[in-house]
Symmetry: C2
């Protein structure tokens, strides 16, 4: 006898939980599709040369390698959905229409040290618009709008997009005559975690002067209103004397303003968007707009959805340039949050049909089939046993309604409908009950 | 530069194909859910001790093993969805309501030699009802009904269930005083492929007498009508003198008849069901009803969906008995067939909005958002460029309708709708067009 168990760091849900997860996923997916995004389903296993085209780095340690015969290609499970997208776009460029709108919701694998809330197999939920050579800035706004709609569909009681543009930071750092931009940003990326004071210390250790540090901290300091921010951002531009810095900064500012304007055209409420100059994200990848998304009801959850604009998706696989904009929802983490919310849950089983005895089987089948034809998720309980056992089962699967059919009901072509939430029961024709819903 | 490619034996679809595959899958899944089946999503990686609890056999050679650090549990990718189900049921028995209705549509991995139509990563689409200690025969009929509805939803122009019962064969073989039942059935399992003559030769080599072979071939010979079959099956029972053989055979016959009767109660047309005594299926696993499913339009495709009743799902993981009935649709193969059918295909992109110039961007966004709110999958094309380029894109993504908005349209609050199938174009208010659909 083998002990039935799964590997540590893997998530597996009970049926009721899985139904919730599925509903979450379906809700998001429906929005992606409404915006005309195509779904992709790339293999979970890829060649190592593809997965590590960028060089690997940290990820190589976490990779799930596949053991195969000596002569076969080295292969591993994917650790994200971006590398497969890059490979796909480069491989099938001739067969795709650009801009290419795609989403992929799939599991990825990372052999991280097991700890609470960290999984080794988890869902990524990615959406990207990829252009060939060029891609208009309108797409950045569209991506944000899609997410805005997706999150709205989940009834999360409000979310806020924190937007930044990499060129704003880069331009300002150039203006401050900071050399080691990458290291400065790497430290900034951790500011949320380590605090402003520690950030300043690390910058100082890096060789930044007191003036540089103070200017930077001031620059990224959040201010009250969007209008204030816009004015301040404009003032910075005017104060710059280094032409290169000014140009870079201004380009970033212009694009950011375009995206903000376009979000208004989409009708995204202004309270759902803010500028946050402290956001950096994936240093070597993003080149334009970057953003993170926070829930108003759970700011401490961290960003549930992040992304941005990149200049060249598939530089490792193609000489062509594929600029794009995309983002990723942390689906597993979002689910963990939603699971713990106290909210009335929609029952998965909408109806269960319980014949009193074997005699009513045929009638019960007809009733169940009618419910199913009407689109209700309906279980039919045909096991032998006492009625009490049947009701226990109905409650166990958390059905919304139990439709009880006994001799009387069958004779009169009726059903006894019991509301399992409040216990109310009534006997009526099935059609009457269905028409009332 | 790395050549972008995937591993041999893996399937990857272009966006339009993927949309078709998704529609196929969604159609089947919707039926499963309507019948109150819960979805499961078990980890793709399981412990080797779980995967090989049965001993392994053939599958161990095809397994995708995961390479991990020395001290970690040996683990591999799943090769089917049945072992994970068995493990899940045994592990979570205390938290499940029995009968437990579950479906799982997910990828499985087998390192088979690459050949046309054989994939190393492919979808299995499994549905099972699992009981605890007992499970009524009604469930066998329900499983068939669910598949009947699922296949009907795919508009496959008709399918036929070929039903058998393992006890019919077993009882008859006992009646014939055949000893090595397993070997006889193993050969019978290949009859479809090798023909009756070769089957007879192999049986003869196994030591069966001429009489035994002739009786067996006669027994499994298909006859014209269902009525004829029933009469013949009844006659066999009457002719049996070995009491044990007769009992086993009769039990099988009774259950088979019960399932046939119940399918009638469900309204499954009789031409979609036939008795086929040559069907054996998974010798060491199935113990009752077994079946395969053939398409009337493509009998040579082979069975697209097979399954049956088993006595004990999780004997390797639990002392408790979990009898069940289930089946599996060969989704990847079914898709391959559907892909090649000449059928009018539903376009994935239902509408694309094309503003003539940058001036109409805001108006175009409003139009697109209205279409999306109305539930139409809608792309919005906001790239710069000539109108011809925009129309080329619209045709490239195979959109159903292009909604063109220029200066005039915007001024009059109208849209020009071009039907991209027949080229017809008209200018009207968006609401009018939407209300007409």
């Amino acid at each position: 006898m083998i002990q039935p168990s799964i590997l540590p760091g893997f998530m597996e849900l009970l049926p009721e939980e899985q139904a919730e997860f599925d509903a979450l996923r379906a809700s998001i997916e429906a929005v992606f599709r409404t915006y005309g995004f195509w779904s992709l389903d790339t293999p979970a296993i890829e060649k190592n040369e593809v997965l590590f085209a960028k060089g690997g780095g940290e990820t190589t340690k976490q990779i799930y390698r596949i053991e195969k015969g000596e002569h076969s290609t080295e292969q591993s499970l994917r650790f994200d959905l971006t590398v497969p997208l890059a490979r796909y776009v480069a491989q099938h460029a001739g067969e795709l229409a650009f801009p290419f709108h795609r989403y992929q919701i799939a599991k990825v694998y990372r052999g991280e040290r097991a700890q609470k809330g960290r999984y080794r197999e988890f869902y990524q939920c990615d959406i990207d618009i990829v252009g060939r050579e060029v891609l208009g800035i309108s797409n950045d706004a569209e991506i944000l709008r899609v997410i805005d709609q997706a999150l709205t569909s989940l009834q999360l009681d409000g979310h806020v997009f924190h937007l930044n543009h990499r060129r704003l930071l880069n331009g300002y750092l150039r203006h401050l005559k900071v050399d080691d931009v990458a290291s400065v940003l790497q430290i900034l990326d951790k500011k949320e975690k380590i605090g402003a004071q520690k950030t300043a210390v690390l910058w100082s250790e890096l060789g930044l002067s007191e003036v540089q540090i103070q200017s930077l901290l001031e620059f990224i300091e959040p201010t009250a209103s969007m209008e204030e921010k816009k004015i301040r951002l404009q003032k910075y531009a005017e104060s710059m004397t280094d032409m290169q810095a000014k140009e870079e900064y201004s380009q970033g500012l212009t694009e950011l303003m375009m995206v903000l304007d376009e979000l208004q055209l989409y009708g995204v409420p202004s309270e759902r968007v803010t500028i946050d100059l402290a956001i950096t994200r994936g240093l070597d990848y993003y080149t334009g707009i970057v953003f993170e998304t926070f829930l108003m009801a759970a700011p401490n959850l961290g960003s549930i959805c992040s992304g941005g604009r990149y200049e060249d998706l598939a530089s490792n696989f193609s000489k062509e340039k594929f600029p794009g904009v995309g983002m990723s929802i942390g689906l597993t983490r979002l689910y963990s949050y939603l699971r713990e919310r106290e909210k009335e849950k929609e029952p998965y089983i909408e109806a269960i049909v319980l014949p009193m005895t074997e005699e009513e089987k045929g009638y019960a089948i007809r009733v169940a089939e009618q419910l199913r034809a009407a689109g209700l998720r309906t279980l039919l309980y045909l096991e032998a046993g006492k009625f009490k056992k049947k009701m226990t089962y109905a409650n166990r699967v958390q059905a919304r309604f139990a439709l009880i059919v006994g001799e009387e009901e069958m004779k009169n072509n009726m059903v006894s409908v019991k509301n399992l939430l409040d216990g109310e029961q009534e006997t009526l024709a099935l059609e009457s009950w269905l028409s009332r819903r």
